[in-house]
């Protein structure tokens, strides 16, 4: 084999790619999630974090990762995820008007109840503990983090029980107001959805790509606008939403909101 004979020449040429390395003209602002992560990270740098007693205050900071979908405390409502008031001792999948995955309802029917132990297992690897869950969260690896978060949940979930969890959350006044004001055409949304369901499954399963069915209108519209305006950073979603207008976003919200999970 004559490879050695080509090495010298090759080095020069192959090395050239470094000069040509493409820097995409992609502006990627720091996301609110990244900020939350950095904040969480700052607290993580305290020494000897393992085997410490659960710290609910630290758990409250970790809870930021949950806040986009879950509400807790006074005025908590069902949103993308169910509200978390009265969580401890609650049967899984038992909130009447929330669109759970069928798997979560079945597990609840089979006796799954939220306790320190079950929450710990679920939060560590949601998709492993309840295969087919709609919750898109990837999991919290560190025991201390889970202990702290659960300590916060225990404290906050009993403090101010939700009074009216089914009343839709008011939309953010400045985000997607025009789309919010429209009545989305679900038929148009179904057509547009063909671009989404290449990745997001209509069954509501979250196998590495979030479930987007059965969301409240305001949450859906806000999420798309957050991608459209680069508040949320995800290349595919920013690209997908770049050309979507208000009518299209409202139509998609209406269509996906109408789908029941399997």
């Amino acid at each position: 084999m004559a490879e050695t004979g080509t090495q010298t020449k090759n080095r020069r040429t192959v090395g050239d790619h470094r000069l040509n390395r493409r820097v995409p003209a992609w502006h990627r602002p720091i996301s609110i999630f990244a900020l939350a992560f950095l904040c969480a990270l700052a607290t993580l740098t305290t020494p000897s974090l393992a085997e410490q007693p659960a710290d609910a205050e630290r758990g409250q900071k970790l809870y930021r990762a949950c806040k986009a979908c879950h509400e807790i405390g006074v005025d908590a409502r069902n949103g993308v995820g169910p509200h978390l008031d009265g969580l401890f001792g609650r049967t899984a999948g038992s909130i009447e008007n929330f669109k759970y995955s069928s798997v979560m309802r079945i597990r609840g029917g089979a006796g799954l109840e939220w306790t320190q132990e079950t929450l710990d297992a679920y939060l560590e690897k949601p998709r492993a503990f309840v295969g087919g869950t709609r919750m898109s969260y990837r999991g919290m690896k560190k025991q201390q983090d889970r202990d702290d978060l659960i300590a916060y949940l225990r404290e906050a979930s009993d403090r101010d029980p939700a009074a009216h969890p089914d009343i839709p959350k008011p939309a953010h006044p400045e985000i997607g107001a025009e789309a919010m004001a429209l009545t989305g055409d679900p038929d148009y949304g179904e057509y547009l959805s063909s671009e989404c369901v290449t990745c997001h499954q209509l069954s509501g399963r979250a196998d590495g790509i979030p479930s987007i069915i059965g969301w409240p209108k305001a949450a859906f519209i806000r999420a798309l606008f957050d991608y459209k305006t680069n508040v949320r950073s995800h290349q595919v979603m920013q690209n997908m939403t770049a050309n979507l207008g208000n009518e299209e976003i409202a139509a998609l919200a209406a269509y996906f909101g109408s789908i029941d999970p399997q």
Partner: protein, 425 residues
């Protein structure tokens, strides 16, 4: 047959799209018939969307030569040991049972566009009112001198997933430390632009796992640059230092020939010897596209960007790797996207259902090493000239490992999503 441009078509449609559909009902004395040739990412998606959205109003027949379908996308992950062959192989059962599609397991031999009939290899005929042609690619064997269908048994191409993929995997797994791998990469345009380079990454992953530090992988490329080049080369430097050499045409000077008997690849510069040689030749639209007169001198089929309708026959649509899709790459994602536009146009033709403006999108994920995924993608719109890119993105070099892991996990989710979208649930 004279071609009706979208504008002209709009004149007819302006009087109500049903005006085109009605004569079909009258003539056929029954349900209008759609026949789809090819049950891959394009064809199966088109069949499912027409059947799903038209209900009982359209008779849908899907013709596919193979009993099951193994996806080309993720077949590299099978080579790398990340997926089983079964996990990338799909059945047509749900399309038949849940959507009422007639799945014909056979080879479509010829198309008579005047009679609007497809003739099968066994001589049987299938009539259509609208035909969707999605045959994928065929290989141009003699684009690499010395290469042939027979040579592919020794130097696999594995650019159509199936037995060739298994052959390449067997040869890869049989490599011993110190043995060499050579890939002859394809010229543009070809199926899955980042595919050869993801495949090389998987080769290297397997060698690295086994600790085969004396084996090298050489890519002889007819192109002077390739898809996601900076990302791949950064990844190769990081994960497989010194293991992969890429030679563009300015180095090797041209690929003269390959010799299956000796495992040699001869270039103007030198002769390369491989214990495993993976030759990916130039490509053209699947044979039936050319024999039916749908392909032009490029070997691929020109289409109307607004509808995926053939430029040469208004009753025929061409989707996926076989068509000339402007800025869109030849990919499973693209084919799936084009299928939805064609499905809508066909329904509009046949039952007068509403035709919305075409939208196209594509994302290609590639795996460089475990949990190191990258992606490139774009959105497209139809213009009179072509399907044109309107916005695009690509993973960045130097991204942290968390982002790369998320990208990989996303690709796994996408695989589940798109195969459900293609083959039904």
């Amino acid at each position: 047959m004279t071609q009706i441009s979208r504008r002209t078509f709009g004149l007819f449609a302006g009087a109500g799209a049903a005006s085109l559909a009605l004569p079909l009902y009258a003539r056929a004395q029954g349900k209008p018939k759609v026949v789809i040739i090819g049950g891959g990412a394009g064809g199966a998606t088109a069949a499912r969307y027409i059947a799903k959205d038209a209900g009982d109003a359209i008779d849908v027949t899907l013709i596919e030569a193979n009993a099951t379908y193994t996806t080309c996308f993720f077949s590299n992950l099978y080579l790398g040991g990340y997926r089983t062959f079964e996990s990338i192989t799909h059945s047509y059962d749900k399309l038949a049972s849940n959507y009422g599609i007639t799945v014909v397991n056979g080879y479509a031999q010829t198309i008579d566009r005047e009679a609007k009939t497809v003739t099968m290899a066994d001589g049987s005929k299938v009539d259509y009112d609208r035909l969707i042609v999605a045959p994928g690619i065929d290989l141009i064997w003699d684009s690499v001198p010395g290469y042939s269908e027979e040579a592919a048994e020794v130097m696999p191409h594995s650019w159509k997933a199936g037995p060739q993929t298994k052959l390449l995997k067997a040869k890869l797994d049989a490599i011993e430390n110190g043995q060499q791998i050579v890939m002859v990469a394809p010229p543009n345009p070809y199926r899955c632009p980042p595919g050869p380079y993801e495949r090389v990454s998987m080769f290297a992953h397997v060698l690295k796992e086994k600790g085969f530090t004396d084996s090298k992988i050489t890519i002889i490329d007819p192109k002077s640059k390739f898809s996601k080049q900076a990302l791949f080369q950064e990844g190769w430097d990081k994960h497989y230092p010194g293991m992969i050499e890429w030679y563009g045409p300015d180095v090797h000077g041209g690929i003269a020939s390959v010799d299956p008997a000796s495992g040699q690849v001869e270039t103007d510069l030198d002769t390369f010897q491989g214990d495993l040689v993976n030759v990916i030749p130039a490509q053209k639209a699947g044979m039936i596209a050319a024999s039916a007169g749908l392909a032009n001198e490029s070997g691929f089929c020109a289409i109307d960007p607004y509808s995926m309708r053939s430029r040469v026959d208004d009753n025929v649509f061409v989707i996926g790797d076989a068509c000339i899709a402007g800025d869109m790459p030849k990919s499973g994602f693209s084919a799936n996207s084009q299928a939805k536009v064609a499905a809508m146009a066909v329904r509009g033709d046949l039952i007068g259902s509403k035709v919305f403006p075409a939208k196209y999108s594509n994302t290609c994920w590639s795996l460089i090493e475990s949990n190191d995924g990258v992606k490139v993608g774009a959105q497209y719109a139809a213009t009179d000239e072509k399907i044109a890119s309107t916005s695009k993105f690509i993973s960045q070099t130097g991204e942290d490992s968390g982002v790369r892991q998320e990208t990989y996990e996303e690709s796994v989710g996408w695989y589940k999503g798109i195969t459900t979208d293609i083959f039904g649930a």
